[in-house]
Amino acid sequence: MKTSITNIIKFYINGFRNMSKLGRKLWLIIAIKLFIFFVVIKMLFFPDILHEKFHSDKERGDYVMKNLLGGEK
């Protein structure tokens, strides 16, 4: 079991170590992109409004229901 796990870890380490120039470039793009997505965009521009404004599901449900019922013609 231990050997298998070590082998898997070695497999990944060797894979990353011997990666081509293209592979490195793609990983860099992935890293930059994930940073922009999850740190910049998510934190600064896309708060989860219901979770930030309210503390319980009941409050969230009441807020949405209020929006729905307040909006009918």
């Binding site: 497999f11 990944y12 060797n14 894979g15 990353f16 011997n18 990666m19 293209l22 592979g23 470039k25 793609l26 990983w27 793009i29 992935i30 992109k33 994930l34 922009i36 997505f37 965009i41 998510k42 521009f45 896309f46 708060p47 989860d48 409004i49 219901l50 979770h51 599901d57 009941k58 969230r60 449900g61 009441d62 949405v64 229901m65 929006n67 729905l68 019922l69 909006g71 009918e72 013609k73």
Partner: protein, 510 residues
């Protein structure tokens, strides 16, 4: 009061994100299988030229996968911020499929993707091949769960709205999973992705042949696999398209009418093979629907109801009603919707006052009209009609492109099999210039599905205008432009990196 500008900007932002995201997805869905087939040929024949072919297309698959990775997550962010009412409303239904998708995508793709790229010469040929197939199956299964969720929005089944929590709660998991809208949407979408990928391979191979005839063997092998795959999936795509139209006719008749520019319903309705809509045509007026049209008699009745003389409802019937054919007017549905909303209000009020009897009677009244709830939020009956011009032209262009791809696959397969690929440069050029058309057809299909179901976020239950969050329009505008820049940058990066790899290959054997 909901600001219509906010709704429009939120809509535009979501559309922009979905359109960019959907440029990467079809290629991932199809190229993964094309690569798996190529590698299978290498493993079964032992011919190293197949390995060369596999490695090249796998590289392009990897570039697309890496650049497109996680672009879809932005939509999830948007749900929480711009569409809070909607995400709360559907949260219980979407939670399960999306959680399964996350687990499947994560384990299958991340594990076997690494073996696929790092595993050459490190694991056995057979295990490597298995990994490639599992990556293909995994990425396609991810699409399944997303499309189950989308199919539910088009035809909400297996649920009940809970007035206590303001959520649609799942009451029958299997009904949600085996929703005909969901599986037809899944099959049609993935087969469209397969065709796009086949065209991608054929187009680039055609470019190789136009630039360097010494690439003939490589290009021929690629074209043989891609066209065989593309031809089978094109035929299958036509079948799934037929099934999709059938489910649309049953559950979203206004969408079907808009797809065909059908204002007045008729028995034995025709399909417009080619037509120019009358731009001045309005609901309920007597003007001609089309300035010009070529039609196939009875085809729409067959497509929508599998009967030669079936009555296909037009937009006028669905808006103003048609007693003769038992079609209820939108005004009547709006009336019932208002009763549902009023009952909901009464229920909440009674609950607040602790009047259990009143609450239970209000709830019973709500259940009676629940399926019309969304109509209660509409202002006028005409609102149920989606933008006709966009839906009609997108649908017809998509179908036209689908037919062209079918022809292209047959011709290129024939040429590859008879060894005449390099003899007609015209077909090679046509194949090369078809490269963007595959992507265009996918986007058009998405536009038909999504614009065609307006004004609904969840069909009949939640209009888009009620699904938005009350936030500042300016912040949505800013993020719209932010995404436009970010996604354009990613797209340029992908095209540049891919073009470099293709050019490098094109220079081989010169």
């Amino acid at each position: 009061m909901i600001d219509p500008t906010l709704v429009d900007w939120s809509r535009a932002q979501f559309a922009l994100t979905a359109i960019y995201h959907f440029l990467f997805v079809p290629l991932t869905l199809g190229l993964s299988f094309i690569v798996a087939i190529m590698e299978t040929l290498y493993v079964t024949t032992g011919d190293t030229k197949w390995k060369e072919v596999t490695l090249f297309w796998m590289k392009l698959f990897g570039i697309n996968f890496a650049i497109g990775l996680a672009t879809g997550i932005i939509m999830e962010f948007e749900f929480g911020t711009n569409w809070a009412n909607y995400s709360w409303f559907v949260g219980d239904i979407f939670g399960a499929p999306l959680a399964i998708e996350g687990i499947m995508a994560f384990f299958l793709e991340s594990t076997f993707f690494a073996v696929m790229f790092f595993g050459w010469n490190r694991v056995s040929k057979k295990f490597h091949l298995l990994s490639t197939w599992l990556v293909a199956i995994g990425s396609n299964l991810s699409a399944l769960w997303i499309l189950v969720a989308n199919g539910w929005m088009q035809h909400p089944v297996g649920m009940q709205f809970n007035p206590e929590t303001a959520r649609s709660e799942m009451v029958n998991f299997w009904e949600v999973i085996f929703n005909p809208n969901a599986y037809n949407k899944f099959l049609h979408t993935i087969s469209a992705g397969y065709i796009t990928s086949a065209i991608f391979v054929v187009a680039i191979s055609a470019w190789f042949l136009l630039k360097n005839e010494k690439m003939k063997d490589f290009a021929k092998r690629s074209i043989l696999v891609a066209t065989s795959f593309g031809l089978i999936t094109s035929a299958y795509n036509i079948l799934t398209g037929d099934n999709s139209a059938y489910t649309v006719a049953q559950n979203q008749p206004v969408k079907l009418a808009a797809m065909e520019g059908l204002y007045q319903g008729k028995k034995g309705a025709e399909i417009v093979a080619f037509g120019i809509l009358n731009p001045d045509k309005k609901l309920g007026d007597k003007q001609e629907d089309f300035l010009f049209q070529i039609s196939i008699p009875k085809a729409l009745s067959i497509l929508g109801y599998h009967k030669l003389d079936a009555y296909v409802a037009g937009m006028n019937d669905l808006v103003y009603g048609n007693k003769e054919h038992g079609i209820e007017s939108a005004a009547s549905k709006i009336g019932k919707g208002k009763k549902a909303v009023a009952a909901l209000k009464a229920f909440k009020e009674a609950k607040k006052q602790g009047d259990i009897q009143k609450a239970s009677s209000a709830l019973a009244q709500f259940r009676q009209y629940e399926k019309y709830m969304g109509y209660g939020f509409l202002d006028k009956p005409e609102e149920i009609v989606p933008p006709v011009q966009i839906t009609f032209y997108s649908f017809h262009l998509m179908v036209g492109l689908g037919i062209w791809f079918f022809v292209l696959m047959i011709v290129m397969l024939y040429k590859a099999m008879t060894g005449t690929l390099t003899k007609t440069r015209t077909w090679l050029k046509l194949a090369f210039y078809s490269l963007p058309l595959g992507f265009l057809a996918n986007e058009l299909g998405w536009i038909v599905a999504e614009v065609g179901r307006q004004p609904w976020a969840v069909q009949d239950l939640l209009p888009v205008k009620m699904a938005t969050t009350h936030i500042s329009t300016t912040s949505v505008m800013i993020t719209f432009w932010l995404f436009a820049i970010l996604f354009t940058f990613l797209l340029i990066a992908e095209v540049k990196i891919m073009a470099t790899q293709i050019r490098l290959k094109g220079g081989e054997n010169v």
